[in-house]
């Protein structure tokens, strides 16, 4: 399957991936509205880590043997059979954070703004290319099929 790959050497820490991810997962999908009007503000599912000149963006790896899918207490965390993406059905999630406990990437986030639910990258379900990749100015994020 196509996955997002991270090139930390190219990341300049601009955080555009976070901006576009948040916007994509907002109600309006409009950048100004998403940041200025919508409350609670949507969560970005990609996190930029930065320390001095080093930075990179990290989101769910959609692991082949995904520990979050195996560990999920409710069955909310499932692999989408069509795309292979690991998706969290937020309606079935109860916010026990077992997925956070088992994800070695720290790629699952707590959304506690409304009904508690695990929040994670969905590869921009329905889009050709995830928006974080599409808007990365320096190809620090790429979306490709490797074996």
């Amino acid at each position: 399957m196509q996955r997002i790959y991270v090139n930390e050497e190219y990341c300049i820490g601009c955080r555009l991936c976070e901006v576009y991810c948040l916007t994509q997962h907002s109600r309006s999908k409009k950048i100004i509205k998403a940041f200025k009007e919508e409350t609670p503000r949507a969560l970005a599912r990609v996190v930029v880590e930065e320390e001095g000149p080093l930075s990179f963006a990290m989101q769910c790896r959609h692991c082949e043997d995904a520990p979050c899918v195996a560990a999920c207490l409710t069955g909310a965390m499932q692999r989408d059979e069509r795309t292979g993406a690991v998706l969290c059905d937020e309606e079935r999630c109860v916010g026990c954070w077992t997925c956070i406990m088992v994800c070695p990437f720290g790629a699952v986030l707590r959304n506690v703004s409304g009904r508690k639910a695990a929040s994670k990258c969905d590869l921009c379900y329905g889009e050709q290319t995830p928006v974080c990749v599409a808007h990365c100015p320096n190809e620090a994020l790429v979306y490709e099929e490797r074996d």
């Binding site: 990179f56 195996a70 954070w97 070695p104 990437f105 720290g106 707590r110």
Partner: protein, 427 residues
């Protein structure tokens, strides 16, 4: 060839999903004494507390058995397994034969031999029907007070559920602190204070001596020290024992603290596998076998069993005891060895902010992480779990482990690459 699975919970589902990945053809039969569609057992406390309703209990969609071509015999108990005849005896006198058998029968709640445990109003709490019975009992008799015997995770979730229904709850725990199996002293005391603030009466170093009836129902309990505790109902949440009563000695299936299995989840008898709370699987940290009765472990072991049953060899990497639960709305995660014996070569890193509250405790041995507790701040706790599982030498970044911005960026570049890029690049 027929696969038969006894049990219908996490390990069974893991096995079914694994078998169907390797074998689309051969029939699978699931047989379980509970008459329910596969449900999420950990959610029974959420159900009792009214945080979810019955429609949210399903662990897999309603068409699960159809889609995976599983014959589900639900509401039928296995009374005896006879490996010599490759058959199971069922309630009602029927039999069922198998070619590959998975025993995934989970645990059976342990009830201490105390006078009054059989009274109406005395419950255990491990099944969907228990949640329904307790809820019905509370409604019918207008129960207002409850005693929870056992201050482990099940006891705690039970207490919270009962409090959410408006009951006044006393928790009695035999050890000198609650959650003594998963937390260290500081974390236990923090959880205790959260529970007290939420209105629970927490009594440690004590257990119940007698449950006293009035008109055949629970009226009150007497603790070991003679104190009387008013309670309209009692819930025993001390722990579970492997549910293996249908395995006679002559079956030859070795049972120790659980059904003895190897890394492929095979029992001592050919073509019979075991997984989940009933099995004594491999503990990655201890390097020996013991039951780790947690949901993720059951699914993973079931999956490994399923692969091997279908002829695809796979070894279980082993489990680590770990739990993630909210205590009075404060998230908590504990992984691995959190409270090692003093000295003994362990190193402890701690950070405690009482006001928030936020507590982190990391346990190291030989510069490798072996345990972690996170309370209040659980975000990215899985990175610790990964370091424990992969036995990473943390010497180069030990000082960053407790930093507020601890993340993958704190890890050595090679390990980070290994994680992100995947297999092929080793540390």
């Amino acid at each position: 060839m027929r696969y038969v699975i006894i049990g219908n919970s996490a390990a069974a589902v893991g096995a079914i999903e694994a078998i169907r990945r390797c074998d689309a053809e051969n029939p699978i039969t699931v047989i379980a004494d509970e008459p329910h569609h596969v449900y999420s057992r950990p959610l029974i406390s959420y159900l009792l507390g009214g945080m979810v309703d019955e429609t949210q209990m399903d662990y897999r969609p309603r068409d699960f058995y159809t889609r995976y071509r599983v014959e589900a015999m639900l509401g039928v108990a296995v009374t005896q397994v006879s490996p010599q005849e490759w058959s199971l005896a069922l309630t009602g006198g029927g039999t069922l034969t198998y070619d590959r058998l998975l025993i995934a029968t989970g645990g059976r709640p342990f009830v201490p031999p105390v006078p009054g445990v059989d009274l109406e109003g005395a419950f255990t709490f491990t099944r969907l029907d228990d949640a329904r019975s307790i809820a019905r009992y509370i409604e019918r008799y207008g129960a207002r007070t409850a005693l929870v015997v056992g201050g482990g995770l099940i006891g705690l979730k039970t207490a919270e559920a009962l409090m959410a229904r408006g009951l006044r709850v006393t928790i009695v725990e035999l050890a000198d602190r609650i959650l003594s199996m998963t937390f260290d002293h500081t974390a236990s005391k923090l959880a205790e204070s959260l529970l007290r603030r939420a209105g629970a009466d927490v009594r440690t170093g004590l257990t119940v001596k007698e449950i006293v009836e009035k008109k055949g129902r629970v009226d009150h309990a007497v603790l070991q020290d003679g104190e009387r505790v008013e309670c309209d109902l009692v819930v025993f949440a001390i722990g579970v024992r492997p549910n293996v009563g249908f395995i006679p000695p002559e079956a030859g299936i070795r049972v120790n603290r659980g059904i003895v299995v190897n890394r492929r989840m095979q029992t001592s008898v050919p073509n019979v596998y075991a997984a989940g709370d009933c099995a004594e699987g491999y503990d990655l940290l201890l390097g020996e076998n013991r039951p780790i009765a947690i949901w993720p472990n059951a699914y993973r072991q079931g999956y490994v069993a399923g692969c091997n049953m279908a002829g695809v060899e796979r070894e279980d990497e082993g489990g680590i005891p770990m739990n993630s639960v909210e205590v009075c709305s404060i998230p908590t995660i504990s992984v691995g060895l959190t409270d090692p014996p003093e000295g003994d070569g362990y190193e402890i890193l701690e950070r405690y902010d009482r006001a928030t509250p936020a507590y982190k405790r990391l346990v190291l041995r030989d510069n490798r992480l072996v345990g972690a507790i996170c309370i209040g701040v659980v975000d990215r706790a899985g990175i610790y779990t990964g370091l424990i599982r992969d036995r990473v030498d943390v010497t180069p970044f030990k000082d960053y482990l407790l930093a507020g911005n601890f993340g993958l960026i704190s890890l050595p570049r090679e390990y980070r690459k290994h994680l992100v890029v995947g297999e092929g690049i080793e540390v």
